[in-house]
């Protein structure tokens, strides 16, 4: 079976700038896919091309087996939820949500029934008569979602759906959005610059940079097995070490640099290769005394910050090697090290990601 959305070698230029560069991507029906990238990486342009607001210079976009080249926005089985919601300020909540239904010429009783259903879906029952300006940010976001879902699109595009909400509300809304998506089984494509948002929402994430997809994977794979330095650095916090491979033996790679490190062998590395190692902060353990395990490095605490959930350390090792690590705040646990104190960090060979760039 062919994929629900098939994007093939799509390119879009604005003058000299290549916004989307020969990009190909398949998305399955019912997926909650996330396009993640910094501003200007081309993710919004790609979204607008799917909606039909942006021309495709070359390449093709197929939705549900139909080429979209000649299909205008209004005729696509696609609706979009805009970044600032783009609610019509001169219309009530009900008129906003019913806008697409009226344009489709649905009979009045059907519109009324569908409107009630949508208001219930986004928990705005009884708010139909309000004006958008009378609503809170979270309510406005839900009106925009209901309006975009009104025509039962096969594909819903969401442009930074949570960016305008404050942090606490954003966390609740994330789960609500996933819940609605699972209930409706509509394919969602979310565009965001917020990696945490992408991780919590998406079943798969495509990370974009300079108009290209750098890596497409599940959130866990992206985080634990980044393909290159850009991905490792873009998603979460990471410490980098550099070195040269000295031996490849029995599933382990030994690397010599400022410190000696043993890493699990991902395959494809040979003696003499220059490598970059990426290690996540929560995978590094900190103690006062050496435990005698592998990958143990003597360090001095340079900086620490208590965040509630954990304490974030910045430590400095031999040859000025800097590492970032997170020590969880468990019951009965004392802060193992204070400023300027010395101790030892260690990490499992399996948690060392070897990168070529």
């Amino acid at each position: 079976m062919s994929p629900f959305i098939r994007i093939r070698n799509v390119t879009r230029r604005f003058g000299d700038v290549v916004a989307v560069d020969d990009l190909s991507l398949d998305i399955d029906r019912g997926e909650l896919f996330c396009l993640l990238g910094a501003s200007g990486c081309g993710k919004t342009t790609l979204l607008r091309m799917l909606a039909g607001f942006e021309r495709v210079d070359s390449g093709s976009i197929e939705i549900d087996g139909i080429d979209m080249a000649a299909v205008p926005p209004a005729a696509r089985p696609v609706n979009i939820m805009f970044q600032n919601y783009a609610l019509f300020p001169h219309m009530s909540v009900a008129d906003n949500i019913a806008y697409g239904l009226r344009r489709a010429g649905l009979p009045k009783p059907e519109i009324v029934a569908r409107l009630e259903e949508l208001l219930r879906l986004v928990r705005l029952t009884g708010m139909g008569a309000r004006q958008p300006l009378q609503l809170s940010g979270g309510q406005r976001q839900r009106v925009a979602l209901a309006r975009a879902l009104a025509r039962r699109p096969k594909l819903l595009l969401l442009d930074e759906p949570l960016a305008a909400l404050d942090k606490k509300l954003r966390e609740d809304t994330q789960f609500e959005l996933v819940d609605i998506q699972e209930r409706l089984e509509t394919t969602f494509i979310v565009v965001t610059h917020d990696q945490e948002e992408a991780m919590t929402l998406a079943s798969r994430i495509g990370v974009m940079d300079a108009g290209k997809l750098v890596q497409v994977d599940t959130p866990r794979t992206l985080y634990d097995r980044p393909r290159n330095r850009f991905i490792a650095d873009f998603l979460g916090t990471v410490s980098f070490l550099e070195g040269v491979v000295t031996s490849v033996n029995g599933g382990f790679v030994s690397i010599d640099g400022a410190v000696s490190v043993t890493a699990a062998d991902p395959g494809g590395f040979a003696v003499g290769d220059a490598v970059r190692m990426a290690i996540r902060p929560e995978k590094i353990a900190l103690g006062r005394a050496p435990s005698g395990g592998v990958n143990e490095i003597p360090v001095t605490v340079e900086d620490l910050a208590f965040t509630g959930v954990a304490t974030n350390y910045r430590v400095i090792g031999p040859d000025g090697v800097r590492l970032k690590l997170t020590h969880p705040n468990r019951r009965g646990d004392v802060v193992p090290l204070e400023w300027e104190q010395t101790g030892f960090v260690s990490f499992d060979p399996a948690d060392v990601v070897l990168l070529r760039d």
Partner: protein, 271 residues
Amino acid sequence: MAAARQWIARHGRRLVVALPLLWLLVFFLLPLVEVAQTSFTVARRGIPPFAPLWGFGEDGFFTNFNLENYGLLLDYWQDYIGPAGNSLRLAFFSTLICLLFAYPMAWWIARSNPRRRAILLVLVMLPFWTSSLLRIYALIGLLNPNGFINSMLMFLGVIDTPIRMMQTDFSIYMGMLLTYLPLMILPLYAVMIRLEDDLLDAAADLGASRAGVFLTVVLPLTLPGIIAGSLLVFIPAVGEFVIPALLGGPEQIMVGKHGRQGVVDRILPQP
């Protein structure tokens, strides 16, 4: 000093509002009251050519309150209804024509990039830097039977005899359009610049045709600008008499011209 500063801090806002209000009171409201008073008094020879409405003489308070002038209006209302109708018609169609020209122009300006937008706005306001009378005379120079347009057309052999453009509705409305167009463009531009592109995209995305987007989103959201611009054009256009006088025929008597004649002929001392 400190006390003065404190006083300004406390009353500064009121002062800022009070000064223009005072100005309006003295130079706008008082003259209007004066005109209204004059309408209730009687004519006489002398300067001014009417008696005061009230005052204090040798016998104390006196008044010349009289409804004779309004009686005249009842007798001669037919003299006024024609010019009043002319003026309202002129104002109405001038407003409509200005709106039809200004709407797409304002749209184009508001949708331009900031650089071109600034240039276009300056161009819109540029005519205000010359006297409107000069612009009318320039238009006469263009439209005259031996003016620029007719000369060019005859030189090029398009026509043999000059087209009559002056002293027609065409010339009057050209003059009105030339004078009042910026007053319509600017308020329209002000509402259009605040209209988010996303609203238009959202309407199209939800299945609206181009006409549908215009009727359900653009038109209602630009209505405040349409109303403001129409009032700005309509109100002065009703009292306009220079343009019809210079560009129109003698049969086009406007209420402004009529009123001016009334004042000049009857009230002001004849030289």
